[in-house]
Amino acid sequence: MIPSESQTSLERLPAGVARSLPLWEIASVITSCLIAEWAVLVFVGRSKLVMAIPITLAFALMLFSHRERGETSRDLGLRTDNFLTSFRLLLLPTLLAVFLIIAFGWSTSHGSFGALWRWRFAALPLWALFQQYVLNGFINRRAQMALGAGWKSIALVAIVFSILHLPSPTLALLTLLAGAVWAFVYQRAPNLYALALSHTAVSLTLALTVSPHWLNGLRVGFKYFG
């Protein structure tokens, strides 16, 4: 069957276009996140409905891209067979991060944490899974398509994760380090559940032990200033 014009394979496109397409996809998703974090808050305020527009566009693009590339949920890391492998790789860095965060929180709060449990923390595992899906299930995979597995794609994932947490300097630094570790582990054993578990442990420890003075209530984007 002759493919229609609109369904031409990318093999027919110039090689440069096909190679840079995954980077374009990454840039497009980052743009949507930055629009939600910055432009919507600046222009409209905290309207969840308006904020949902760029997020929906990004989500639609990611789903379409998975379909176009024939990626299954198992490919993305929504699987259980390699959970233990991924968990083992994550255990030491996660425990180390949790220990360092507790030590930092303890020393900067002069021996008393004082942070209270909030019910919104209960949604943290789901939020962490969503973030890991975007960061590794989509961005890491596209980064590997463009730059290959290894330090270049890991660095790209970490930098993207850090940019999305600006302008909070503490979060930008933490997410740069955490993003690199999670991207490394994902390239060894792609399992989003294990990554979400590690993400939840680190985020929860941060929220409960580090003073809001250092993290500004984990706010990012324009909300950081409000």
Binding site: P3, S6, Q7, T8, S9, L10, E11, R12, L13, V17, A18, L21, W24, E25, S28, T31, S32, I35, A39, V40, V42, F43, V44, G45, V50, I53, P54, L57, A60, L61, F64, S65, E68, R69, G70, E71, D75
Partner: protein, 158 residues
């Protein structure tokens, strides 16, 4: 994993266009909400201060809050609710209570510049914006403390 079709390129281009339109629309809506083109007003240099009128045609029965800045520094705030029958007679307002007046007897002798702004609250008073009413007013304070208007060109020359 298969190679994607050119549909992915089309989707990426379409998404970029949609996002550009989205951000552009947000910017226009925000601009019109923060700085709506409804405010009218004017200011003049009087002997003892700055006086004028201000009307919000979007809410013509409301009194506009105005702020005076002299030499770029905040001087004071007032509500434009003093009688100005000439303003309503000229058709600028529905009633005459839109005048304001600032007494500026604490200024040093010499040239100065006054600007009067209408204060607008938007976004449930989370945003405040200032809209210049009329034009900047250059003036000079004499040794007797009285204000004399300067033409803009004269003011710049000094």
């Amino acid at each position: 994993m298969k190679l994607p079709s050119t549909n992915l390129v089309h989707v990426l281009i379409g998404k970029s266009i949609l996002e550009t339109l989205f951000v552009g629309s947000l910017a226009v809506i925000a601009f019109l909400s923060v700085l709506p083109p409804y405010f009218h007003g004017w200011g003049e240099v009087a002997n003892d201060g700055i006086a004028g009128w201000a009307v919000d045609n979007g809410s013509p029965w409301e009194r506009v809050e105005v702020q005076l800045f002299i030499d770029g520094k905040f001087f004071g705030t007032a509500v434009a609710n003093r009688p100005r029958p000439d303003v309503s007679a000229a058709g600028w307002a529905l009633d005459e209570w839109h005048g304001y007046s600032f007494i500026t007897n604490s200024l040093n002798a010499g040239p100065h510049e006054a600007r009067v702004y209408a204060l607008r609250n938007s976004g449930n008073a989370t945003r405040k914006s200032l809209q210049l009413l009329g034009t900047p007013m250059p003036f000079i304070v004499g040794a007797d403390g009285k204000l004399q208007p300067l033409s803009p060109a004269k003011g710049r020359d000094k």
